[in-house]
Amino acid sequence: MPWQRKKRRKSKKRPPLLPYILIPPAVYAVHVFLLFLLDSVRGDGLMLHQYLNESRGGLVRQLVSDGWRALPVFYAASLLLWFEVRLLSRFLHWRGVVSAAIAGAATGWLLAFFLIGKSMAVVIPYTISGLLMAAVLGRIAQPPAARKRR
């Protein structure tokens, strides 16, 4: 039936929205975990200290309130990285997870270096977050055919 064919074509082109919604909070969670690791291994261990010796509720409230502020920025960053991934694949024909991850890491590094701080401990978590987010976006943005070929 013609109306059935039309409907099928429409659903085929619908972009997968859910991953785009879930990627920023998931990457932010990984980002906080990275901060925890760096704080525990190379820093004063403030997160663990607050959890063990001060107010656990306070730590949770802090993480939640920071999360609310961070999420819009992580969504904006995901949009920026998505554009980068699209541009790379369209104009330079650099497709795939690796090139996207490199671009994401470079973006994260540049943003952290110029906007937040120049020390390695500041730059590393943002670089890794950028890398991770762009890699996932690169994976999603790949056409299914390209994925199959690999």
């Binding site: 906080v32 261990g45 961070a70």
Partner: protein, 483 residues
């Protein structure tokens, strides 16, 4: 000629204004009831008055203390009672009244008291006096007493005032709104949960970074949810060394015990010890269980944006807080900085936490043993003198008159009395040990906090907006004034 005359009269007027401008100090002190109005608070207040008199410059004192000038007894003093029949110590030990047996009561000896601290009387008095302040004046409010915590909202933290009344942060904010916004208002709160009063610098005592219109700043012995070092009823001066002990020692140049302070608190070398410098001195030198803070420090903590939190927590900027962190670490026999400091602090904290746990366990089991011991001896006493079990009765009065000596001899000769004495003394010693361990743990917390403040200050210098810098500068210039 005419212009000169105008200029002269204008300068005379200005001169008169500056002459008329005055420094006002409000001291509010004492406990909420006799049992909680320890002699230490009275001595603290007297010492603060002495420091204020000893500092150059004239200032008007407004002292409010417990029941004001009423003749009733409003201070409790504790001194260890002698171990003798005359002090009824054997009876007190068996009937678990050892603390009460060492107490004595008297009417306070605080000079210049203009009124009591009962909230209903204090509030209108403060409102009236605050509304008379004019531009050019300066105000300093010092509170020395007890405080309560509101777990839902720090603006609900209260000062515990005479007759079990109270004044919350919000209420004090409303009272302070009577003060002309041009008048700098400094406050020093030394009670438990005093950090809640930091809200006084924000509009309507809200939980926000924004500063109110008024020019206020302050210093606090503790955070909004931690108890300050206990108010002991003891008058042994070396026993108590709370935040105010060090804060006012910096302003006087001498410790309360009379000896000169070893470290110069005048960090910027301008010849004047500002309140901020006094606070830094208390941070560096206070070997107590208090984790003090100032409004500028809390402002930095509030300011920190999410993207800087938990980032690079091993950085060690060399600013004033970084220097004090090193000083405190050195004083406590720790490496001054670097991973070695962090490593050693973790090890020491673990050891202290274990020590604290075992002390608390011992305290708990000792409490149970003491209960059993007391009731065993009490049972034997009651078998011979049942009147001893009914205080506030004629029987008891007769017992005191006729049988007291015999009963106390009986207690002293009881086979388990020596054990009771040893265990009660051990419990008292345990309280001391717990306090010492708590003080040691607090020193570690302080080093961590100072290192965090050092990073915060450095981050603030790099990332703060012009408006945030203006707010911080306002607080700093208020804190940076002398007495």
């Amino acid at each position: 000629m005419r212009f000169r005359a105008i200029l002269l009269s204008a300068s005379l007027l200005l001169g008169m204004k500056s002459v008329a401008a005055a420094d006002h100090v409000w001291i509010v002190g004492g406990g909420p009831a006799l049992g909680n109005s320890q002699a230490q608070i009275e001595l603290n207040v007297n010492w603060v008055i002495q420091v204020l008199h000893g500092n150059p410059g004239a200032r008007q004192l407004h002292v409010y203390y417990t029941d004001g000038n009423a003749p009733g007894k409003d201070v409790v003093l504790w001194q260890p009672p002698k171990e003798s029949r005359e002090t009824l110590q054997p009876l007190a030990r068996v009937f678990d009244e050892v603390n009460a047996n060492g107490e004595s009561y008297y009417s306070h000896q605080v000079p210049h008291v203009v009124g009591g601290t009962e909230a209903s009387a204090l509030r209108p008095s403060l409102e009236k006096e605050f509304s008379t302040l004019k531009p050019g004046d300066r105000a300093l409010l010092i509170y020395n007493g007890h405080g309560l915590h509101d777990s839902r909202d720090a603006a609900g933290n209260t000062l515990r005032l005479w007759n079990n009344t109270s004044l919350s942060v919000r209420e004090l904010d409303q009272i302070m709104n009577r003060i002309d916004p041009a008048v700098p208002v400094r406050f020093v709160f030394t009670q438990c949960f005093s950090g809640g009063f930091e809200r006084l610098v924000h509009p309507r005592a809200q939980d926000t970074l924004e500063l109110g219109e008024a020019n206020r700043c302050g210093f606090f012995a503790e955070s909004e949810d931690r108890e300050a070092e206990g108010c002991s009823a003891s008058i042994k001066i070396g026993d108590y060394r709370d935040y105010s002990t060090f804060f006012f020692a910096a302003l006087q140049g001498r410790m309360r015990t009379g000896e000169l302070i070893e470290v110069n608190p005048d960090r910027d070398g301008d010849g004047v010890v500002s309140l901020h410098e006094a606070h830094l001195f208390a941070l560096a030198q206070g070997q107590n269980a208090d984790l003090p803070r100032s409004t500028t420090e809390v402002f930095l903590e509030r300011w920190q944006p999410w993207y800087l939190r938990w980032v690079d927590t091993g950085a060690e900027p060399d600013n004033v807080y970084g220097k004090i962190a090193r000083e405190v670490a050195r004083k406590n026999g720790l490496p001054e900085a670097g991973p070695a400091l962090v490593h050693e602090m973790r090890g020491r904290r673990q050891a202290l936490a274990t020590a604290m746990d075992s002390l608390l366990d011992e305290q708990a089991s000792l409490g149970q043993e003491l209960g059993a011991l007391r009731s065993a001896i009490r049972k034997d006493v009651a078998a011979r003198w049942p009147e001893a079990l009914s205080p506030y009765t004629l029987n008891f009065a007769n017992f005191l008159k006729k049988d007291l000596t015999a009963a106390q001899d009986f207690i002293l000769a009881h086979p388990r009395y020596a054990e009771l004495v040893a265990k009660q003394d051990r419990r008292a010693a345990l309280d001391e040990e717990v306090l010492h361990v708590d003080r040691d743990i607090t020193q570690l917390d302080k080093i961590l906090r100072l290192r965090t403040l050092a990073r915060l200050q450095s981050q603030f210098e790099q990332h703060a907006t012009a408006r945030e810098r203006e707010w911080y500068g306002r607080l700093m210039s208020c804190e940076g004034q002398g007495l």
